[in-house]
Subunit: 153 residues, 2 copies
Amino acid sequence: MKLCHTAFAVSAFAVTAGAYAQQAPKPEDQIRYRQSIMNVMGRQFGMLNAMSKGDVPYNKDAAVKAAGLAETLSTLPLPLFGPGLDKGAPTKASTKIWSEPDKFKAALEKMQGEVKKLSGAADDAAALKTVVGDVGKACKGCHDDYREKEFRN
Amino acid sequence: MKLCHTAFAVSAFAVTAGAYAQQAPKPEDQIRYRQSIMNVMGRQFGMLNAMSKGDVPYNKDAAVKAAGLAETLSTLPLPLFGPGLDKGAPTKASTKIWSEPDKFKAALEKMQGEVKKLSGAADDAAALKTVVGDVGKACKGCHDDYREKEFRN
């Protein structure tokens, strides 16, 4: 039993240390984290888009919160599309991301720039409306090029 | 074909309007959103925890960013544990959440309060260390009571 406990403790430590100290968590966890970020970011954009179209009433506090959250999230995913993270869990990420990383990086940075504009505009309904379209185009452009329709392994 | 196009247009509108105007997206999408929020929040806490333990070097900018993100995210999930969202996709959320919603709400609000303290402490390594433990306890307490070990349908 002692050996068993020790093995468990070492294993638990390895997971924790591996996740943060060695910066090498399991690809499946990184892919899940990447998908989670994109999902939450997409939901914030969806709400801002709905407000700009009048599908839901404009709400300044909610818009500022959503835009700020989207901006912070937009800064996270680039390293999660790095080497070794092209597979390991079902993903819609196109293999083109890994075959043309510089082009992908430029597209992602374009998105980051556009999302940043949301934060500057979210406290005003008219201003928000003018930038939402550009952000949507940046999302769509990158998805058209780098997101598959179906999950692959 | 015209009928077909109309039906598609109405259907597409219903999805968009349903997602935001009627506040009734599909349970599976809400469950996925809930899981994404918890995943991203957990990762921020994991990084702050690792910094407080010395597993990774303390970095003020990264800590402040992670704590702020965790705080914003902590305000989102409560409505995603609402009526009708107990099933619809594989989930680890215990059915107890829906059978004792007031108790669950109190536990979630406790977590929100603790996570808020992270933001106030993240710009100082020693202060961060003192609050991380309490946040961890709030996470664990809620997970022990309301998160299953395995996914259920």
